[in-house]
């Protein structure tokens, strides 16, 4: 009996001592972490490996810049460390990767991802339950309509982009050709993002802007032949053509056929949504002459003020220009860094709270608006950019404060 109580006492003292040191060391670690981990969950294998890789390049550049400028000052100059996870090419793989991220990378403070909006939807179902803040460039409205608290959408949503783009395009046309466009044609494939943009236009946006829809065609990628579509355009002669492809081969096929029918190179001004038509891969199959003048409305793009970044991306990764994937992910890392400064500790819940309440002033890397999120997690005042193919490079032409070149309206 006495022997037993003796042991208990000694064990207790031991335990107390051990936990004391543990707490002490942990507190010290929290005050001065040498490294803070940030996640990047993007497709780096499979069908979407190319955009995912570009996102990684943007993130790596940002991390290097942040660390070179002294890391997170509120954490004693702690360096950021990027943890890259492959979301693969299916929704299931993306979800599995997200589960792996929250289960095995327990010290992540925030993450960015996951390219396709369907991946982001699945991934955020996991990160939300793990209280891990997730920044995304995906712009499906659905992502921030579920009442989630840890999802932050940096791009304007699809519906908002279409709403912003139309008046600008009309203004552009009016100033360039001194004639207001009246009729439009829509050629869209039936993928999620394209359908959402086309639907917003049909359901009122065109009418609001006094535009009349005279051709409305939906196709399933990949197109085998674009002749019948182009013939409809030729006989209807619209003032504007909204062309929404997702697959590069479809864009090529239609642009070539337009050219063949004498409608190309701006005879019918062609406007796209999304980045498919402005990806570097386009140039591998379509000649710059065919692309000259084609416009596309994107959530974000390398623009004025990013010249140094664009140059660095070019020399470091051999990317010919800076797409939304690179610049947005670059910006994500800076936003996470700012949130860490505000939170003052490397803790995901605190970072989430900081993101919800932060007011980081005008946005530097996303077009227009502020570094501030509304109650849904959407960036306040998020704008969009209009990009135009000029001499083999898609350059930002709108908004004027971000434009790297003046837009030209194809002469008819």
């Amino acid at each position: 009996m006495t022997a037993k109580s003796k042991i208990t006492i000694s064990r207790r003292t031991l335990l107390a001592g051990a936990s004391g040191t543990l707490i002490a060391s942990r507190a010290g670690w929290a005050q001065q972490p040498s490294e803070v981990k940030v996640g990047l969950l993007v497709p780096i294998s499979g069908l979407y490996a190319r955009p995912g890789t570009v996102m990684r390049e943007g993130a790596e550049m940002a991390i290097d810049h942040i660390n070179a400028q002294g890391g997170v000052k509120a954490l004693g100059g702690a360096k950021l460390k990027l943890v890259v996870l492959d979301s693969g090419d299916t929704t299931e793989k993306a979800k599995n990767a997200a589960q792996r991220m929250v289960a095995q990378e327990t010290d992540l403070v925030a993450a960015s991802g996951a390219y396709l909006s369907s991946f982001t939807l699945a991934v955020t179902e996991v990160t939300e339950r793990a209280n891990l803040p997730m920044l995304t460039l995906s712009y499906s409205d659905l992502i921030t309509e579920r009442g989630f608290k840890y999802v932050f959408q940096t791009a304007a949503t699809a519906g908002s982009q279409a709403r912003q783009a139309l008046p600008q395009l009309i203004k552009l046309a009016e100033t360039a050709s001194s004639k207001r466009p009246k009729t439009v044609a829509i050629l869209t494939d039936n993928t999620g993002a394209s359908i959402a943009s086309a639907k917003a236009m049909r359901d009122g946006l065109l009418a609001e802007n006094q535009l009349q829809l005279i051709v409305d065609e939906t196709f399933t990628p990949p197109l085998a032949d674009a002749t019948s579509l182009v013939q409809k355009i030729r006989s209807a002669k619209p003032d504007l053509l909204f062309f929404l492809p997702t697959v590069i081969s479809d864009a090529k096929l239609l642009l070539e056929k337009m050219n063949e029918f004498g409608l190309g190179q701006g005879k019918v001004p062609t406007i796209s949504f999304g980045i498919a038509i402005a990806e570097p891969d386009m140039l591998q199959t379509v000649s710059p002459e065919l692309l000259q003048g084609v416009l596309t409305c994107v959530a974000s793009w390398g623009a004025k003020g990013h010249e140094a970044l664009i140059a660095e991306l070019k020399t470091r990764y051999k990317e010919p220009w800076m797409t939304q994937n690179a610049i947005s992910t670059y910006g994500d890392m800076w936003v996470i860094k700012d949130a860490l400064e505000k939170a003052g500790k490397a803790d995901r819940v605190a970072v989430g709270e900081a993101l919800r309440t932060m007011d980081g002033g005008p946005s530097k890397y996303y077009p227009l608006g502020e570094i501030k999120f509304d109650e849904k997690g959407r960036r306040v005042g998020a704008g969009m950019t209009i990009v135009q193919w000029q001499a083999g490079i898609p350059v930002t032409v709108f908004p004027p404060e971000l434009a790297l070149a003046k837009p030209f309206w194809p002469k008819s």
Binding site: T90, T91, E92, N96, V102, A122, T191
Partner: protein
């Protein structure tokens, strides 16, 4: 007793799996543990149709996706709990199976596989067109359990396991019943199955309905796990391929195949994705693909069968040491060549009137008429291409006659489906043997008994009886793949008589047999005749035939040349001419 015993391994496996899963606290590993039973069940549903019937479906994603979307949309638009929606999804999947099966079963082989491929791809576009590109399940924070949204991921695994156990047991019950036997018979030879009295279309429809229901149920559960449903993630090619991959890797046509495949492949793919893919993005797909190719090359029928064969070989070599070789060999009961009344004058059981069938310009059978008397043995002979087998095919319903009638007991049965004619009492064997190689002799024969048996037990009894009548009782438990040609011929005979036909059509039953072996088979046939069976037999070997038959019917170029007693027919000049050519007619006369 049998049922209890076969339930034990899946129950133990499920319990062991559950214990392992409860020990896992990492939520990522837990998710993988949940996905294993999901894909196992999907593989099992594919196996139920394609594994047992041999009709490969490349389109099981159709059912899976219908289940997933039904579960997701039901929650979004009608606020119904998935506990209710998953059974509803199963029902919809079953209906879809029926609707898809009915037109598609007109096709066979590759055509069936390709047609099945089209369904999910077509449905995928329909769902895209409907605007369901991305559907997310609403979070139910107030009543998570009622909406199957568990905070504890173990519960998903346990629920998946419950579904898997249920599917395994259901598959086992089917495997042992007339349902499973019918499907296996269809796989081996659909025509032979019809001839054995199996209504193949009805069984195939039942199989695809059940298979569709299971696939849809697990698709609904999958939606619940993934929380996001997109057309590509539930109707995509990769989804259909997943069912094939796990089933073919693990073993086709066995309940354990898809389970083995899923238990190995799903975690393997994830580990590769997490470990190798982190170093070289994309390498995981390459390694995974190579691994599957290697296994398929080494074990074309899947791991299960390979392992079973290895195990069997080991036990067989052990058994060979202890057993005497005599016991292993088939021991045909010696039959007394007792004389039998030639009964060419009895009551007419089968009457053929002016039967004709032409294929384009070729008249394969023309104007054939004859009568088959009760308890008689009629030999049908003729040179190659005389139309003997075509005549049999007309009699048992494989072919529809162009003209003429087949009267069974006075009823005109011409043009009926084979299984109907089988039910009317006509059994047949085939020139080319169609044993079910992986099944025991008894199981092979049971397939034939179902046409008469009402219950599984009755069928087993009738099969055992038939096996005894052909003298194979001693080897009844051996696998058909290990048998000699003679034993296989006898087994086919047993399968034909297991359904207790009154008339037996034997197509070259003695082909490929040695002299002594032929005698043994002849003895069995004679015994059948003595027991009251009426027999029509096609044969080339005159020697054996002359001793066996009561009467000959001689065909040449599709028409009857002559018929009569053996001793008369063999001397008939027209017969000699037909068999040997004109110049032998003179020789024969001398």
């Amino acid at each position: 007793m049998l049922r209890m015993r076969s339930c034990l391994p899946p129950l133990l496996f499920t319990l062991a799996y559950a214990v392992v899963s409860l020990g896992v606290t990492n939520s990522y590993y837990q998710l993988i543990l949940t996905l294993v039973p999901v894909w196992a069940v999907f593989g099992l549903s594919w196996n139920l149709l394609s594994g047992y019937t041999g009709l490969i479906s490349f389109g099981h994603a159709a059912f899976f996706g219908i289940g997933a979307y039904a579960t997701a949309l039901g929650q979004i638009y009608f606020d119904i709990s998935p506990w209710l929606l998953i059974p509803v999804a199963a029902m919809l999947g079953g209906i879809a199976g029926l609707l898809i099966g009915f037109p598609t079963f007109r096709l066979q082989g590759h055509y069936f596989a390709l047609a099945m491929l089209a369904y999910p791809l077509a449905i995928l576009y329909v769902f895209e067109w409907l605007g369901f590109q991305e559907v997310t399940l609403p979070i139910k924070r107030e009543a998570p359990i009622a909406y199957m949204q568990f905070a504890d991921p173990h519960l998903y695994t346990l629920l998946g396991l419950a579904l898997m156990l249920a599917t395994i047991v259901l598959t086992q019950v089917i495997e042992r019943s007339r349902f499973g036997m019918a499907l296996l018979a269809i796989k081996q030879n659909e025509a032979a199955a019809e001839a054995a009295g199996i209504n193949t279309l009805a069984w195939k429809l039942r199989a695809i309905t059940l298979s569709g229901a299971i696939a849809a149920a697990i698709g609904g559960f999958y939606a619940q796990v993934l929380l996001v449903v997109t057309p590509a993630s539930v109707f995509g090619m990769l989804v259909s391929a997943q069912a094939l991959t796990v089933a073919m890797f693990g073993g086709v046509g066995t309940v354990w195949g898809p389970v083995i495949g899923s238990v190995i492949l799903i975690p393997l793919a994830e580990i590769l994705h997490a470990e190798a893919g982190a170093r070289i993005p994309g390498i995981q797909g390459v390694i995974f693909g190579i691994a599957i190719v290697c296994v398929i090359l080494l074990a074309p029928e899947g791991l299960f069968w390979k392992l079973r064969d290895l195990l069997r070989k080991r036990t067989a070599s052990k058994a060979a040491v202890s057993d005497t070789p005599e016991a292993a060999a088939a021991n045909v009961t010696a039959l007394k060549p007792a004389a039998r009344q030639r009964a060419a004058t009895g009551e007419v059981v089968l009457e053929v009137k002016n039967l004709s069938r032409s294929f384009g310009g070729l008249k394969a059978v023309q104007d054939v008429s004859f009568r088959l008397h009760k308890n008689e043995i009629l030999g049908i002979i003729g040179p190659n291409g005389a139309g003997k087998t075509t005549l049999f095919n007309l009699l048992n319903g494989f072919l529809k006659p162009s003209q003429g009638e087949v009267l069974i007991d006075g009823r005109n049965m011409s043009g009926q489906r084979p299984h109907v004619i089988c039910e009317a009492g006509i059994g047949r064997t085939f020139q080319v043997m169609r044993p079910f190689l992986r099944m025991s002799i008894l199981d092979n024969v049971v397939v034939g008994a179902y046409v008469r048996a009402r219950t599984d037990d009755e069928a087993r009894k009738m099969a055992a009886d038939a096996v005894a009548r052909v003298g194979l009782s001693a080897v009844a438990d051996r696998v058909a793949g290990e048998l000699s040609t003679k034993e296989l011929r006898l087994m086919e005979l047993a399968r034909a008589i297991a359904g207790q036909p009154r008339i037996l059509l034997l197509d070259e039953t003695l082909a490929g047999l040695g002299h002594g072996e032929a005698d043994e088979v002849v003895a069995v046939i004679q015994q059948l005749a003595r027991d009251g069976m009426t027999i029509a037999i096609i044969e080339h070997t005159m020697q054996a035939m002359v001793r066996l038959v009561d009467r000959f019917l001689v065909l040449d170029h599709g028409a009857v040349i002559t018929e009569g007693l053996p001793e008369v027919v063999t001397r008939d000049n027209r017969v000699i001419e037909a068999y040997l050519g004109k110049k032998w007619v003179g020789h024969a006369a001398n």
